[in-house]
Symmetry: C2
Subunit: 308 residues, 2 copies
Amino acid sequence: MESELIAYLRKRIPRHPLLRLGPGDDAAVLHLAELDQCVLTVDMLTDQVDFELKRVDPRRVGRKALAVNLSDLAAMAARPLAGVVAVVLPRRGGMQLAVELFEGILPLAEKYNLAIAGGDTNSWDGPLAISITLIGQVTAAGPLVRGGARPGDRILVTGSFGGSILGRQFDFEPRVEEALLLNQRYGLHAGIDVSDGLSVDLAHLAEESGCGAIVRADDVPVADDARRLAEKLADGSTPLAHALDDGEDFELILAVPPNEARRMLADQPLAVPLSAIGEFTAESGLWQLDRGGSRRPLVPRGWQQEFD
Amino acid sequence: MESELIAYLRKRIPRHPLLRLGPGDDAAVLHLAELDQCVLTVDMLTDQVDFELKRVDPRRVGRKALAVNLSDLAAMAARPLAGVVAVVLPRRGGMQLAVELFEGILPLAEKYNLAIAGGDTNSWDGPLAISITLIGQVTAAGPLVRGGARPGDRILVTGSFGGSILGRQFDFEPRVEEALLLNQRYGLHAGIDVSDGLSVDLAHLAEESGCGAIVRADDVPVADDARRLAEKLADGSTPLAHALDDGEDFELILAVPPNEARRMLADQPLAVPLSAIGEFTAESGLWQLDRGGSRRPLVPRGWQQEFD
């Protein structure tokens, strides 16, 4: 890592009990004793795909780069431990950009008691790319995986969906605490976070579990942003379509056995609402149940990487 | 990660005792019980800076992306455990490129018993960037850090230096086994791997230790590649200058107390030569001792990231 940036980070990063040796050596040294299982996740964000650096404060980009990774830990019900940050910066103004990114990363890291252990800084003539890798601790309740849903399990979701492009895509709160609490207190079968879209990520979860899923359209919690966006675009797309397909909500989809689901819905143990939107089925595929009971295929339409 | 690539990796990645859950979920799950301390390192390589994708087989790029990270583990004397790979691919031919990168990564991972736990795949209109993060295990001998050199310590190096651009920059063997053996068998004070250049990285080690260093020019092991490159370029640069400044040798620089250094040099316990090239000094700065005993400043001239 570039020496000026190391000097900045050494001053800026608070002491952390896990961190035996922070930025500036060939690797960071972490104290991980008494850890049985951990999770490891990496997510890279790139300019002009995940954000437009021309239009957004780099601190929000840095925050988002960490938040999407924290959301992956939430999806595994893992407690954040430590992370490293790799960036490739445009040459002009790279140092200032790096500092601004970290000024978005570090407050969120501190909030989740995450040790920023180090990183790698590069520069080139291309646009910004930022890659964050996190280690999380699997709790006594075990990791929450995608493959555990069973037919009959209820589909529960946190919060509401759609229209994240109006701002929530940057400022969302990763559901770390929510996932830890739910995984500890209830018998969850499976979970995923919604990055690509409610319909796509539900399809991922169902497929990994060898199930299908049926969604009651009327029960999908539609965000106010989804309504605002539908109105603003006025292209015929409905708020529900935005809720199902927009993505970057970073809410949780959970597969929960019926009795446990009833208990969770009655308890409502989170500050955000928990809603039941349907159930997993033995039959594969995604289905949508409309008001009146007519059933039709639900085509997953979220974000997909485009390459051949 | 893109589903086609996940399918490829799930078939291709061998079982590994550490890996409880591999690619395809929100994070990988690792079994790390009985681990006391670990190291965490990340390195990103980018097209047109670290390699030219037009001129080099992507498998060599993938291999190098992992090897530079393994070299960082070597510099800490840590045993490779697990890693994740994040890439941003050009849209055209991205899938094939990703597979070729992994075909360079996976054989080297297997050689070092490293679990490839997962990753993230993105695409854009820009050039290739690849970022690998590794976890390594700190052994009972403790981590080898940059800050432990003391005045009077001998400067020992593995192998030879210079001219890596002729091919060794891709095909070098990270000194993982060498570092583990030396750290276990001898009382080392500090270590670093040579990525930016022998002179620059020696300066980093000295600075982190609050020391200076004096190098006996005649004792620097000059690689045959350094001689070949000097001859080929015919620009007046000497093989010694290439050895001191070229970088990407990925050999080790070690700070070793005199008695221990004598024992190591007599034992020569590695398949590659161990050479003493000078010593650390209380006085700061880097010095070069030429034949005949004249002393002059050694200006570190290796690779530096360029941004402002």
